[in-house]
Amino acid sequence: MTRPSDDVRPASASGDAAKGELFAKLKRLRRDVDPPREPARPALPAWFARRLAREHESAQANPTRGDPRTDAARRGSGADSGAAALAAKTSGAPRDLEPCVNAFGTHAVRVRRLPDATRHGEWRLADLLSADMAELAWLALDDTLVSLAPSRALFLDIETTGLSGGAGTHVYMVGLARFDGGALEVWQGFARGPEEEPALLASTAERILASSFLVTFFGKSFDRHRLADKMRVHGIAPPFDARPHLDLYHPLRRLYGKAYPDGRLATLERELCGVARDADLPGSFAPAAWFDFLADRPHRLEAVFRHNFDDVQSLVVLCAHLARTRSGSTHDGAVLSGAIGARCAGLARLAARRRDWDDALRWLAAASGDLRLPDDLEELAVELRARLAKRAATQRRRTTRPLS
């Protein structure tokens, strides 16, 4: 039963075993040599985790700016050209970083100014400045937006080391864009290590406080909570309470949710604003880039900076697009891009939600002109008919009851 045991180790003379010995023991006891376990599941309800993952995939999508050349390349031979470009890793610190000092320490920042007239896809950044806030408030079902000035918006998008939430997820990049003297100022705060996160978040809080409202994509569910949680950990008061927040994800999903296979930022910016991005990258892209950088390995942080930079611009033009939804046209009078049937159906729903039945019927009729979504329309029509019938019945009761 027992094999000879001449290899019995004498106990080490003192309590502290050599590091190598401890490591070997830990490896053995923890069975770390075993086949890898299944990947960790995020501690979120499954549906929510899926949605987060989807959004994050989109957020992590190709950071290459859409321009005709890459489009042409994609149509031609180089389907992977974007991915190939991204595969290029750099070493050392990202360039063009300035230190930023505050009461919580130091972090790095990169600031770029884009003239108002800059195009992002088919839209100009300045198109946002003439957005009708009442329109946005109507679409977002959020009356706090009505009286705000679009020029005082702060567009926010963050990069983190994971999606799971919790104190161990680091926020390492915060992209904040605002209009300032004829330009869009894109401020990208960056933590060069976990110890810089408090300073980064302190600067972020300060900038949010100086703004009038926030614009994000899925930020009410993700960015805001990651920031607030980590701010609380570091003893920084979160600046979100009572600050209006337009999360583009929700109104856009209501309008276009059924028109496209997914509700990702990458899809919407392409379909609605003509912003072209190439090959998708895996969702682990942003965490890995920072981990590589911290471990002094070649990294793809530059791609993360560019991607974040593009993301905040997409927030600007998507917001401008959203504000034109009911008009159906751009500022130049061109027909608004995007699935018109779904949009009209969505508007009908919104109107119905506000109990404006006539408006709802009008949008339903408009939607009927577009036959791409018969199922959806059928469903909506049934719903509206039911509501109208119910309303009629209620009115009948009201008018007949006093008589009986």
Binding site: T2, K19, A167
Partner: protein, 831 residues
């Protein structure tokens, strides 16, 4: 309501004597039972514990008057002495452990200080209550909200568990003055998201942990680390909560609390609550076959006993150790309801796995006296409020003294006469207690195995802690994790090898896209557990730990759950999945296992010399070993290979490497137990490194005891089995928590040796407790063999003849008598 025909029928069905018994008081029942010609003699032990008056004390003077008024409205004008003592300690800011019995008003000991602080701080001070089960926390939440409601303050207590809807979680986090939860939620929900709970942590003044005796083994060792994490997070937000703990009566309570929370506590143990007179009976079922050592089935005996002690005039509770037994006994009793003068509905089963609403209903019907008989598992062992009952029947020893008293504590609270009957099963520990009932009533002797510094548990918990806040090098010296051995090395390992942490200067940061608490189980094993899947329904029907999987879910094994059988079609060892198909079989399977134990390092040693041999110079002797005058002990790091010359026997605790290989399995027919085939098992060996208690007999002594000649090897194995079976007397564990290897000639020691090892990777302290209690262990094992009525070995002692050999029982008795023969003179070798 009873139908007329039934009441007419009942007397005809049942002998009059039984019917009459049903209306008797408990005191009269006891008299009848004693006098019963059949059952009386089988009650091998009787003990009466007289009623005890209450001892009271006034409310502490510093207590806010509105709190005394609050309780006065509930009829409480004075506190019981232990309550007053605990409350005073708590109000003075001390950490307290209350170890009085179930239903001695422990809740008040926690609630009063918490309410007092809420009043004093005008609602600022917060408290966190940890309960071992969900049901308990819900119970308490209702109670607390009732009290707070009467104080007319805008304070709230909430239960936070898996059932808490997401919509109210936020309110709860921000406005919960008292949060009631369980260790799992704290571990995986609250601590990793501490930022969301910042309001709670910032003003966290009190942490209450109920029933801390349940925190032992892997689970307890993990929870001790969760509590380190809790203190760490609280400190981050500037709080240093005080701990208020409660426990059943356990040995060395002070030490247990220290291992658990890392602080010294004030132990309050003098119970001031009143109790009615209690009569205890130990019932040993009749021996059916002395050769086989077979006694009448305990469950069947419990049913027969019920006809004599259950009735409509009082409430009874039956405790079984397994869920299936609960169902079987409930059915038996319902079928006999009329013979006991009861309706079927007055008899209920109650166990984990019942839906919460059903359980609440049964609990309230028990309190209201509507349910007369409840059959349950340990589900009703903890403090769920079901009122006080009159008769308790324990079908089988519950495995620990603490559990025994928790169960017994379910009866006799209202200063009424009550009866507790312990029904013995055939296994060694029950039989030991049938002959040594004093053991139950003496001071608690079993100790809790708890080792927060187990390398595996500590390293897994360090991952979770690092996720919550970066570790600084200063924390190796101070704070809740201070002094945890090898912590710095573990953190480096997690950084350099596992790539989960990133060290920058004096700090280790979590640096991975993962949520570690999800994958770290408090009960151990976790990701290594094997999931058992039904191939037809695609559903999981069970889970088994890594070690157990080799012998229970190998291909061809019959897997049994609650009487239903499945055959294992495929065991995907790599991916930890076993695929099973439901079948009807007339056989079950038993795997044969080869276990190989290799000594890695011996840490503590104690030995006894053969009388007449010169005693070696004493080495540093830990106080725990002082029991035997001739025992030498060392806690030396370099114990050389022991010289056996003058030794009689030696014991060690140390590290071992255990390799287990499942070699083959037998198909055994039900009832007849005939073997209908043997098949090979093809599975890789399972290896663990763990702590073991090792015991070796010198060659001289072995020779003198006749252990060398052939057949006697199986007697040595029988000794090992017995030791393993009686270990739970001194250690809170199940026999299956301990692995056993017996070697007639150990290659390491070159003499007979027995290894009892902790079946948890890395060990959680069981081996050390055994090492320290080994003399008592020998004595208990000897007592079992000596008192066993079988002729030549049975399952109740060294095992049946087929296993222990014809001379097995005699030889085992000789060996144990020699080992347990304690002092000077008897150390002479007897053969």
């Amino acid at each position: 309501m009873r139908a007329d025909s039934d009441s007419d029928a009942a007397p005809r069905r049942t002998p009059n004597s039984v019917r009459a018994a049903a209306r008797l008081s408990v005191a009269e029942l006891v008299e009848r039972l004693r006098a019963d010609p059949e059952f009386g003699p089988r009650c091998v032990h009787w003990r009466s514990v007289p009623s005890r008056p209450e001892q009271t004390a006034p409310f502490p003077a510093c207590l806010r008057p509105e709190l005394a008024e609050l309780y006065a409205r509930r009829g409480v004008t004075r506190l019981w002495s232990h309550q007053a003592e605990a409350v005073e300690h708590a109000l003075a800011g001390r950490d307290v452990l209350v170890t009085t019995p179930t239903a001695s008003g422990k809740t008040l000991c926690f609630v009063l200080p918490v309410l007092q602080r809420l009043l004093e701080t005008d609602g600022k001070a917060r408290a966190l209550f940890l309960y071992p089960t969900k049901a308990l926390s819900q119970d308490q939440s209702t109670n607390l909200n009732g009290l707070i409601g009467e104080l007319a303050r805008d304070w709230h207590s909430f239960t936070y568990d898996g059932d808490t809807p997401p919509s109210v979680r936020r309110t709860l986090r921000e406005q919960g003055h008292v949060v009631l939860t369980n260790p799992w939620m704290l571990h995986a929900g609250i601590l990793p998201n501490h930022a969301k709970w910042a309001e709670l942590f910032r003003d966290l003044e009190t942490v209450v942990i109920d029933e801390v005796h349940t925190l032992s083994g892997v689970f307890g060792s993990s929870v001790a680390n969760v509590l380190r994490r809790l203190q760490r997070i609280a400190a981050h937000y500037g709080a240093r909560p005080r701990f208020l703990l409660s426990s059943a009566t356990i040995a060395d309570a002070q030490n247990h609390a220290r291992s658990l929370i890392g602080r010294e506590v004030e132990v309050v143990q003098r119970d001031g609550s009143p109790s009615g007179g209690r009569t205890f009976a130990v019932y040993n079922p009749p021996m059916l076959d002395a050769v086989a050592g077979l006694r009448a089935n305990a469950l069947e005996e419990a049913r027969r006993l019920a006809l004599r002690i259950v009735g409509p005039a009082h409430q009874s509770i039956f405790f079984c150790n397994r869920r299936t037994s609960v169902e079987v006994l409930t059915r038996y009793l319902k079928e006999s309801a009329h013979e006991m003068g009861l309706e079927r509905d007055e008899i209920r089963g109650y166990r984990g796995g019942y839906l919460p609403n059903l359980r609440r209903e049964i609990e309230s019907d028990l309190r209201a006296g509507k349910v007369k008989v409840v059959v349950t598992t340990n589900a009703l062992e903890l403090g769920i409020d079901i009122g006080s009952l009159d008769v308790a029947v324990l079908v089988g020893y519950p495995g620990s003294q603490a559990s025994f008293w928790q169960r017994a504590g379910r009866v006799g609270r209202r200063a009424r006469e009550s009866l507790v009957v312990q029904v013995a099963r055939s296994d060694p520990i029950d039989q030991y207690l049938a002959t040594h009932p004093d053991w139950l009533f003496s001071a608690p002797r079993e100790r809790l195995g708890l080792d927060p510094n187990n390398l595996v548990i500590l390293s897994e918990q360090a991952k979770c802690a690092a996720f919550e806040l970066p570790f600084s090098t200063a924390e190796l010296e101070q704070g809740p994790f201070a002094g945890a051995p090898h912590l710095g090395g573990i953190l480096d390992y997690l950084a350099e090898e596992s790539k989960l942490l990133h060290r920058r200067g004096e700090r280790w940061y979590w640096m991975a896209d993962a949520y570690p608490a999800e994958d770290v189980s408090l009960a151990g094993g976790g990701p290594d557990n094997v999931l058992i899947l039904d191939v037809d329904t695609k559903k999981a029907i069970g889970e088994i730990d890594r070690e157990g999987s080799l012998t229970t879910v190998h291909e061809g094994a019959i897997y049994q759950v609650e009487g239903e059988t499945w055959i294992v079609e495929r065991f995907d060892f790599e991916n930890r999945r076993a695929y099973v198909k439901q079948v009807e079989t007339d056989y079950f399977t038993e795997a044969e296992v080869d276990t190989e134990v290799r000594v890695l390092r011996l840490e503590r040693e104690a030995r006894r010399l053969r009388s007449g041999a010169p005693a070696p110079a004493a080495l540093a002797a830990p106080a725990a070993l002082a029991a035997s005058a001739t025992a030498e002990a060392s806690r030396s790091a370099d114990v050389a290979r022991p010289s056996a010359e003058a030794d009689d026997y030696s014991v060690w605790s140390g590290e071992v490497h255990v390799t287990t290989v499942a070699t083959s399995y037998k198909k055994v027919r039900y009832y007849t137990r005939e073997s209908v085939g043997i098949e090979k098992i093809h599975l890789p060996a399972e290896e663990i490194d763990t702590q073991a208690f090792v015991f070796a007999l010198s060659l001289e002594s072995a020779g003198a005891l006749g252990l060398e000649s052939g057949d006697r090897g199986s007697a040595w194995a029988g000794v090992g089995k017995l030791l393993r079976h009686v270990a739970p007397l001194f250690l809170r564990c199940q026999p299956q928590d301990l692995g056993l290897a017996t070697q007639v000639r150990s290659p390491h020691f070159s003499r007979p040796a027995i290894f009892l090892y902790d079946r948890v990777q890395g060990g959680v302290g069981l081996a050390d407790v055994l090492f320290e209690s080994h003399r008592e262990l020998f004595q208990a094992a000897l007592d079992v063999v000596e008192r066993c009525e079988c002729e030549r070995g049975c399952p109740g002692c060294v095992g049946p003849i087929a296993e222990a050999g014809l001379l097995g029982k005699g030889t085992a008795r000789t060996i144990l008598a020699h080992l347990a023969g304690g002092s000077g003179a008897s150390e002479r070798v007897v053969s």
